[in-house]
């Protein structure tokens, strides 16, 4: 996983749940087809307008609901660079780290506006707003996860562990 991410902001509110990110009615489709419907319940044009590296900024409880990793898969397919939110739902946060989708918590995301340019240092927990030339503090990754994030997620971490490296 890249530890420095730079991209344009798409702004959303609280409780962006997994049924919004990855609607159940499309979950049996191939991921590229599911991705066309990502966020469509609240933002029908999302999959068309989002560009590689763009950053989603939201309020509280991002990713609540299901354990479906299709939520991460569609966002990764659309090459979303990172998600910044005031808080994340537990399973979503864990899944994101496992698949290498950068997630950062920040106390008050209301200061960030749609269309602004952010740069995130994942390991330092630092968020720079290039549009406003301001800097915010994000929560740092828990220490025991840093190596997993640096390796790119759970799969490479497991590969290393299974190869006998004592992690």
């Amino acid at each position: 996983m890249t530890v420095i991410i730079r991209g344009r902001v798409w702004k959303y509110g609280d409780n962006i749940n997994t049924d919004i990110i990855s609607p159940g009615q499309f979950m049996s489709l191939p991921i590229e087809k599911q991705a066309e419907h990502a966020m469509s319940a609240i933002d029908p044009k999302f999959s068309k307008k989002v560009k590689p590296g763009d950053i989603l900024v939201a309020g509280n409880n991002f990713g609540s609901g299901s354990s479906r990793e299709t939520a991460q898969m569609v966002l990764k397919h659309l090459q979303v660079g990172a998600i910044v939110a005031c808080s994340f739902a537990r399973i979503f946060y864990r899944n994101s780290i496992n698949v290498g989708l950068p997630v950062v918590e920040m106390e008050d995301t209301s200061v960030i506006k749609e269309g602004e340019e952010l740069e995130i240092d994942l390991l330092a927990g630092r968020i720079i707003n290039h549009t406003q030339t301001s800097e915010y503090k994000g929560t740092k990754l828990p220490e025991h996860l840093i190596e997993m994030v640096e390796l790119g997620g759970l799969e490479p971490y497991l590969a290393k562990r299974l190869a006998g490296d004592n992690l």
């Binding site: 049924d19 159940g24 009615q25 049996s28 299901s66 479906r68 497991l158």
Partner: protein, 424 residues
Amino acid sequence: MGMTMSEKILAKASRRSEVKAGEIVWVKVDIAMMHDLLGPWLVDGAFKRLGGKLFDKEKVVVVSDHCTPPATVHQADILKCTRDWARLQELSYYYEFEGPCHQVIAEHGHVRPGRLILGTDSHTCMAGGLGAFATGIGSTEMVGVLLTGETWLKVPETIKVIWEGKLPEGVYSKDIVLKTIKDLGHAGATYQTLEFSGTAIEGLSIDDRFVLSNMAVEAGAKTGLIKTDEKVIDYLRSRGITEEIELIHSDPDASYSRVLQYNASELEPQVACPHEVDNVHGISAVEGISVDQVYLGSCTNGRISDLRTAAEILKGKKVSKNIRCLVVPASQHIWMEANKEGILDVLTEAGCIVNMPSCGACGGFTSGVIGAGEVVMSSSNRNFRGRMGSPNGEVYLGSPATVAATAIEGRIADPRNYLMKEVY
């Protein structure tokens, strides 16, 4: 300082005598559960790349329930992939067309007090009704579990939710959990365990306790737990489990992050309104809202006691002509019990449509999804926008009794009007 149920189970799973909330521990998994929609078709690629050898064929349980019966070719393909994978891996336990996974693994004895159960579904926490520490994980994490039988977990703090007293007639465990979620908020228990206790909880059947543990995740909780007692043993014995069962409960001096206290006797039927599970109101605030469909089923509230309650209300009555009433027993076993008791006849005569056990329309997958502008009153667990089909539909959640009363009137109705003995 004593330990909570969560600390005790995670201490055992990490082969330690004691753990404390906040610690990160490596745990050994007792049961790894996957269902069709978030199972083999998503995990097999990484699983194979990493060697493709299961840690223990006896501890991996797969249940096909989301794509059953398949409504599209894609669903049929996923189902076939799941079935083929279970056969190829020579799994000891593969179930399909039997009903939602959480009910199926409970009925087949995979859920026991003190076990650590991880599943690729957020409602895996339902197993806490029998005293197992159970939580949902993603497909990638499941790959690691399948290969090693281990993962890391942070020992959660516990919120104690005490309900004392006796529930009034027409008020059920669904109303208890909706009221609790309303007060906690949908993220109020994030990273924590919800532990339900008190005389009202002790008085509940295992069926009704499952409703509480099932919906713990709707307050963001990692799991929902209930102190185990003789009812747990009776349940497991009735499911053919003969081994010794060790009961588990929190120590009296265990530490809690928060304690909520309620009097069950004051509770009225509760309804979660669109589009959040914590948007909960007393029945009087929503009575009279027109619906197009009612849905009695799901891993939350499709059990035999739920069907009995609905049958009691619908016996000799008719479902409103303006609506569809879908009934989905939560397992084949429940379907058979309901059939033997004549409940399916009562419901069918009233005008209900009885579907086969599956996740069905609860998650917008098969059999009864809704269109734009349609309104559903459902006994299931989630009412997010688009959850049961169109993002322009609306889902209300309530107890099976509220669902049954609503079926009669075609509008959200107070079940107490159909259950209360008139007093003169």
